[in-house]
């Protein structure tokens, strides 16, 4: 645990245990989403599915990056990840993004994807609101993740026909343009 790092956050008036709980729940949601998006990507086939596949892959890898970036902050603040992955998955801040009953139905898969991203946006908005001006490091991290989740929502929403996202593809799959600077322990 980074003693002073936790102390300054406490002194700023944040309930650190509550914040850690939110970060663990967020990390669990990223980890489970990575798993579910793997299944969704694999099943994204055919004329419509192939177009979606690359975007799911970007979102999938970036969600894994979010998990990687959140984990060290949890420990810095004196928290930890549950020893049991089942407990971890159960604590996820967002519901599971299941493959639809008809895996060939791209519209149904898109609904799952866009709702998962919308949930993530709400999760990180809450963390940003809780930490703004008080816990600068967590805020910067949550904001970086939020930027990427908002882009993911826009991509899927565009596919659903809700209007243009204004974005173009990543330079490399799962590039994480905002979060990559927090991935200090892994090769970018």
């Amino acid at each position: 645990m980074a003693k002073v790092a936790r102390q300054v956050v406490e002194q700023a008036g944040i309930n650190v245990d509550q914040l850690v709980e939110k970060l663990v729940a967020a990390a669990a949601a990223e980890f489970t989403t990575y798993y579910y998006y793997t299944i969704l990507r694999i099943n994204s086939i055919g004329f419509d599915g192939e177009g979606l596949k690359e975007i799911i892959e970007d979102a999938r890898i970036e969600d894994r990056n979010h998990f990687e970036a959140l984990a060290p902050r949890i420990y810095e603040l004196g928290g930890k990840l549950p020893r049991d992955i089942r407990e971890f998955a159960d604590a996820a801040a967002c519901p599971d993004a299941y493959l639809p009953a008809d895996p060939r139905n791209v519209q149904e898969a898109l609904k799952v994807l866009v709702e998962a991203e919308r949930c993530a946006i709400r999760v990180y908005t809450e963390i940003c609101n809780m930490t703004a001006g008080k816990d600068h490091r967590t805020y910067a991290l949550a904001l970086a993740v939020l930027h990427e989740e908002i882009e993911h929502e826009a991509w899927f929403s565009e596919f659903l026909g809700e209007g243009p996202s204004g974005h173009f593809r990543r330079a490399a799959p799962g590039q994480s343009p905002y979060v990559s600077r927090f991935l200090t322990a892994m090769q970018r």
Binding site: A93, C94, P100, A101, E115, C119, R122, E126
Partner: protein, 122 residues
Amino acid sequence: MTKRRFIKVAEIDQIPPGQMKAVTVHDENVVLVNLGDSYSAFNARCPHRGGPLAEGALWEETIQCPWHHHRYDVRTGQNVYPKNVYPTDMPWLLERVGSLWMYRVKIEGREILLEEPLAPHP
């Protein structure tokens, strides 16, 4: 015929339109929402895993649990997420997404009243 009994729980000035307020009635935690044209009241315990809905966020007419981000329509109490994306071939998932425990609300003058006993109604 039994006459309905109501208990005062708040005053209308205490909840601006689009806002909510947590109250405790007979040891039950209840959330009151001002919907602009009416008021809604429901048990503050999320039907999913008992999360504290009073600490959740109200987004227009939807309340979101702070624990797992299940979302409910505060007019009807229905789960609107993740029920809308759960696969139809996994019916046990749909059984786990219950509705809010709603209470009957009456406005009398400036007072917000809830029907007693606090029995959930559809």
